[in-house]
């Protein structure tokens, strides 16, 4: 800037905060000139993010802040009709009017039954919402909760398995030391997934250091385009390929990490004819076979000479086998040929990749880090939404964990790691503390500091048992391993409620972000469920399809650049620095003060809690949840505002010198991560399953309940042996529906709301794929289709979407891909309107289209395609 202009500036300052455009929560700093935010940059000194960079979505935040289409005042629906494409005929109301009405209804519903309150949040702000949401939920009931479309599309299987195996929300390669990483439908380092910015940085660095990346993916686009090798795969068949690889490694090559399996898994546990552990009569603990002493002992008996992994033993007249032997036998049926047939991946490729992976694992090798000699297993297999987004989610995730654990590559240098679940805390305060411990049957448990850094309700282990109550609209009582409930938006919702005898349904909904009309499944299905809810409150930045069609009251929220909060990047921990990157703790702070009558929804929630008379209770919950140091605990009757709470939280965590003012100035704090934290597995006495014994009991119990209720649940996947089961997409017989359609994330978009920023819209037009339907040029030729044709996709049950065709060769010949979550029509989002294709229209949502264990929904669909223009 010219010097002369500088003088006219009244103010020119940088404000450190975090990005809120995806749940990566990268550290950023924002330049403000004369009160206007003019520039966003990454936070170079923080390990949370790319260390100075951001992605384009992050930069485009300025156009969220200054979008003239943002909501500025509370709105009330005057059109009694609700439904898709209905004009709500918004009327402006005052905050007082809005809060009065909401508080009245809220009070009524929680007094009657908190479960009739449906409380939904968006994933894109998860790290931020999390810390505030959990205490408020606890205070309110807890209500029936839901995470946008996300709970069903992503993570239902992955989070549970990652929790049980890695003590973490999700998994990632230890990029720094990894030499060979396999991706089964994940985009880690390619612009999405957890810690997106951090992964972009670390994966890029790994590529230059020669790490080999192998991507199984129907399409060669983001992570797969950066991979050394791309292997096209039929959606939903990853499990078969992974198990075939395990088979090759264990049975053909005879390679496995014996030590790891014996000490860190349930591999040596003895299993009886009924599939359950054989337990010690006295303690009830699982038994193993000590091959040195030639007798059974409790798994953690210090006198064990060596663990038998295989063989047949007799205990008290009952035949039994160690888990590993059973697994080894079980996976023999997954021959590369078998897997090849379903997945289209050549058998020779499966053998080769398996061999490369096993060899690269260099079992037995070690590395010294900070004076500690640790196992080095520089191989990693990861998956996320792509591989797990199917009716076999739980087991497919289990298969990945098995592959990693066979070679001992879990939470050791170079292997697959979680988002560090072990923390000794900030030097001096010892907070936030998180610990991996040993729980039931020796399996790992996570004990974490409150809602920040928290895992999920309850924790991954031990799993709950089903217990029918019949009062839960989400049916969590029946389906214990169900992560998020499809029945809150499914086509069989009424049927299910009838079957469980639920009288009346959801009575009130609070939606904090999330645009579920676009982001879950076919919009008509979701619309029907929303129509059943008499009172819907939506807190949003924009008047979305969900809001216009169904909200009774629409509240204008502040966007992340106008918000202040002490829970910025911590969330479920999946935005935190992982592996050996140093710890970081960030806050969110307002770059500009909220404009118009926008109100931070956290403040609104506090106010509502106050109005329903639960203020003291909330403070009590928060005292506990945030593990506030005694001197900072809120006393009964004491009224503090939210920023005061933030101040107490950070002082509690980092000492009185690091108060809110300190954090406002610095934005974040970092401290070194110790080896015992990063690679906790080497230092912790606990095990992870390669055999899901718990599913037997859960399955039987669930079966009992569902049979009684007349719910037709296929419990075949409640099997302890990790398996692959074909999905409904693989059963379609009609040859007309010859293509698999899937959705993938574009680096330019998060969920459904980034199409509203003109910058991102401009860039999307400059990208050949973002707004178009992609398919293979050969397939197109066979069908007489050309690049640029207007085409219609139709599912077996006649659901249709249309869009422009873009041909490429980097896609499976039987696959059709659609980016992001697009296809807006709301008047409140004029820039986004009409852009891209809403893939979700094609998706069914009911019991039959979910994984019966995790209830992840099927996110692939069979279609036929025809030209319409």
């Amino acid at each position: 800037m010219a010097g002369s202009r500088q003088e006219q500036l009244r103010e020119d300052t940088w404000i450190p905060t975090v990005c809120g455009r995806c749940y990566g929560a990268c550290g950023i700093r924002v330049r403000r000139v004369n009160g206007v935010a003019v520039k966003i940059e990454g936070q170079p000194l923080s390990t949370q993010g790319s260390r100075g960079g951001t992605c384009a979505k992050g930069l485009s935040g300025l156009q969220v802040l200054y979008d003239p289409n943002r909501l500025n005042v509370p709105l009330k629906r005057t059109n009694p009709e609700k439904g898709l494409f209905v004009d709500p005929q918004w009327k402006e109301i005052t905050w007082d009017e809005a809060l009065d009405e909401i508080a009245r209804k809220l009070k009524a519903v929680i007094e009657k039954d908190p479960k009739r309150l449906f409380y939904q949040v968006t994933t894109c702000r998860a790290p931020y919402l999390r810390g505030n949401t959990r205490p408020i939920m606890r205070t309110l009931g807890p209500p029936t909760a839901f995470v946008g479309g996300g709970g069903l599309h992503c993570g239902a299987g992955a989070h549970q398995i990652a929790g049980m195996v890695h003590g973490s929300w999700s998994i990632v390669p230890d990029f720094k030391y990894c030499n060979y990483a396999i991706y089964f439908g994940a985009n880690k380092g390619g612009g999405s997934g957890h810690s997106s910015g951090t992964c972009i940085r670390l994966a890029a660095e790994a590529r230059t250091q020669g790490t080999k990346f192998v991507a199984f993916d129907p399409m060669r686009n983001f992570a797969s385009s950066k991979a050394t090798e791309w292997i096209p795969i039929v959606p939903g068949t990853d499990g078969a390929v992974i198990l075939a690889m395990c088979n090759v490694i264990v049975n053909d090559l005879g390679i496995y990490d014996e030590k790891y399996l014996k000490l860190k898994t349930n591999g040596p546990y003895l299993v009886g004819e009924d599939g359950r552990y054989v337990r010690d009569g006295e303690t009830g603990e699982p038994l193993v076979w000590d091959s040195t002493a030639a007798k059974a002992k409790v798994y953690d008996d210090p006198s064990i000479g060596d663990f038998a992994l295989e063989g047949e033993y007799e205990i008290e007249g009952k035949r039994c086998h160690p888990v590993f032997g059973l697994v080894r036998e079980h996976i023999k049926k997954y021959t590369p040929e078998m897997a090849s047939k379903v997945s289209d991946v050549p058998a020779s490729t499966i053998r080769r990749i398996a061999t490369e992976f096993a060899e690269a694992a260099s079992i037995g090798s070690t590395i010294t880090i900070d004076g500690h000699n640790l196992p080095l297993r520089p191989v990693s297999a990861v998956l996320f939404r792509g591989g797990e987004g199917h009716e076999n989610s739980y087991h497919t995730c289990g298969a990945v964990a098995l592959l990693n654990q066979i070679v001992g590559a879990a939470d050791v240098p170079g292997g697959t790691v979680g988002w560090t679940p072990q923390s000794f805390g900030f030097p001096g305060t010892g907070k936030p503390a998180m610990h991996i411990g040993k729980g039931k049957d020796g399996m790992l448990t996570v004990d974490r500091f409150g809602p920040t850094f928290a895992w999920s309700g309850g924790g991954p282990w031990p799993p709950k048992m089903p217990e029918f109550r019949g009062d839960d609209p989400a049916l969590h009582d029946i389906f214990a391993t169900m992560f998020h409930s499809p029945f809150l938006a499914s086509s069989d919702q009424e049927e299910m409620w009838q079957k469980i005898g639920l009288k009346g349904g959801i009575e009130m909904m609070i939606s904090w972000g999330a645009n579920t009309i676009l982001s879950i499944a076919n919009r008509e299905i979701v619309a029907e469920t929303l129509k059943r809810i008499p009172f819907i409150v939506v807190s949003e930045l924009f008047s979305t399809e969900l809001a216009e069609g169904f909200a009774d009251i629409l509240l204008p929220d502040t966007c992340y650049l106008e918000q202040a909060d002490c829970f910025a990047g911590s969330g479920m921990g999946f935005s935190l620095p992982f592996a050996k990157d140093d710890w970081a703790y960030h806050i969110t702070q307002a770059v500009v003060e909220p404009q118009y009558e926008r109100r931070n929804f956290v403040d609104v929630l506090w106010e509502l809690v106050d109005r329903v008379g639960k203020r003291d209770q909330l403070m009590e919950v928060m005292n506990d949840a945030y593990s506030l140091a005694d001197e900072y605990k809120v006393k009964p009757g004491e009224k503090i505002d939210r920023l005061e709470m933030c101040d107490r939280v950070v002082k509690s965590l980092f000492g009185p010198e690091h108060d809110w003012e300190w954090f406002k100035k610095h934005g974040f704090i970092t401290w070194p991560k110790r080896v015992e934290e990063a690679y906790w597995r080497c230092f912790t006495d606990c095990r992870a399953p390669i055999y899901f014994e718990h599913l037997i009991d859960i399955g039987e119990k669930t079966r009992e309940i569902t049979d009684k209720l007349g719910i037709d649940l296929d419990t075949a996947q409640y099997t302890p042996l990790i398996s692959w089961t074909p999905c409904s997409v693989h059963h379609v017989k009609d040859p007309a529906y010859d293509l698999y359609c899937f959705s993938y994330r574009d680096i330019l978009h998060t969920g459904s709301h980034t199409m509203e920023q003109p910058w991102l819209d401009e860039l999307s037009h400059m990208n050949p794929y973002t707004y178009n339907i992609v398919m293979h040029s050969e397939t197109a030729k066979e069908k007489g289709l050309k690049d640029g044709d207007l085409v219609e996709l139709e599912t077996v049950v006649g659901r249709k979407v249309e869009g422009r065709l873009k041909l490429l060769t980097g896609i499976h010949q039987k696959a059709v891909g659609i980016a992001a979550c697009a296809g807006h029509w709301a008047k409140g989002m004029p820039i986004a309107k009409g852009k891209g294709v809403n893939f979700d229209i094609l998706l069914e949502l009911d019991l039959k289209h979910c994984d019966p264990v995790s209830f992840n929904m099927e996110t692939a669909v069979r279609i036929k395609i025809r030209k319409i223009g």
């Binding site: 400059m766 990208n767 050949p768 640029g788 060769t809």
Partner: protein, 292 residues
């Protein structure tokens, strides 16, 4: 062209033809046509032709060029870099030609001009005719333009048009002298054009990838009627027919209206040709994608 095809597929230039760029096309046409008309007319001592040529060049050529500019008032700056810039050179030629041409015409009207002045003026006029072709052929990224034949083609076309217009003036003023020579000149220029034009297209076609796109765009793209009707039929075939007919029945045997018409057609052909060459100026893609 879709935004995502930018420099992935051969990408057309737009600045010199689309939007206000259309003015550039017209400006260049008239600058060259006017200068050529002046030059040819002066060879036959047709002062009226010189004047018309000068006016075409100055008013239409210069005028449109000025309006085309983003900052017309900074026009004068454009002569500052003749060492390297063909536009600077061109403008020096054109302005030199216009100044001297005006002096020449004025002197001729009032007293008498000098041969030296006329020669110098005509040298500048000639340079004004050729500079456009050089300016374009300097552009490396566009294979269709980046050809040594382009300046030749433009010069031939410019002179031919100028000669045709001079002939009209000759016919108008009825002066019989020089007519035969002028006709021969026109025949030679037509013949040259018939040789240069296809050669130009063929060499462009077999050059870099974008050249191929350019040529196919010219002959069978959206603007194909400009090529087949405008350039080939109107611009070449009809004038050629008239010339062949004139061999048979003699020039005086051709109806005057037909002669005028053939001149008009030739000019239309020339204009279309220039339009096509500007419109089909495709850049070689930066990242050529072999995909579909």
């Amino acid at each position: 062209m879709k935004p995502y095809e930018w420099m992935v597929k051969p990408t057309p230039q737009t600045e010199w033809i689309d939007g206000r760029g259309i003015l550039f096309w017209i400006a260049f046409f008239f600058i060259e046509l006017g200068a050529a008309m002046f030059l040819v007319s002066s060879l036959f001592g047709n002062l009226f032709g010189e004047l018309i040529g000068w006016l075409l060049c100055a008013v239409l050529g210069g005028g449109f060029h000025l309006v085309y500019l983003g900052h017309p008032l900074r026009f004068y700056r454009m002569i500052l870099r003749p060492q390297t810039s063909w536009i600077s050179r061109g403008l020096l030629f054109v302005s030199g030609f216009l100044v001297l041409g005006l002096v020449h015409i004025a002197l001729s009207l009032w007293t008498a001009s000098t041969l030296v002045l006329l020669i110098v003026t005509n040298v500048l006029a000639f340079l004004a005719i050729i500079y456009g072709g050089f300016a374009m052929s300097y552009i490396r990224g566009i294979p269709l333009w980046n050809s040594a034949l382009l300046p030749v083609l433009y010069t031939v076309a410019g002179l031919w048009g100028g000669a045709e217009l001079s002939a009209v003036v000759e016919l108008q003023s009825g002066g019989p002298g020089g007519n035969a020579m002028l006709e021969d000149l026109i025949k030679i220029l037509l013949a040259a054009f018939i040789v240069v034009f296809p050669t130009y297209l063929i060499t462009a076609r077999y050059g870099l990838s974008a050249g191929k796109t350019s040529v196919s765009e010219i002959v069978k793209g959206k603007w194909w009627p400009f090529f087949w009707v405008g350039v080939i039929v109107l611009g070449i075939a009809l004038p050629m027919g008239v010339i062949i007919a004139s061999f048979v029945v003699g020039i005086s045997g051709i109806p005057l209206a037909l002669l005028y018409l053939s001149v008009a057609f030739e000019l239309i052909g020339d204009l279309m040709l220039r339009y096509l060459i500007l419109k089909a100026g495709y850049y070689n893609p930066l990242v050529p994608m072999p995909g579909p």
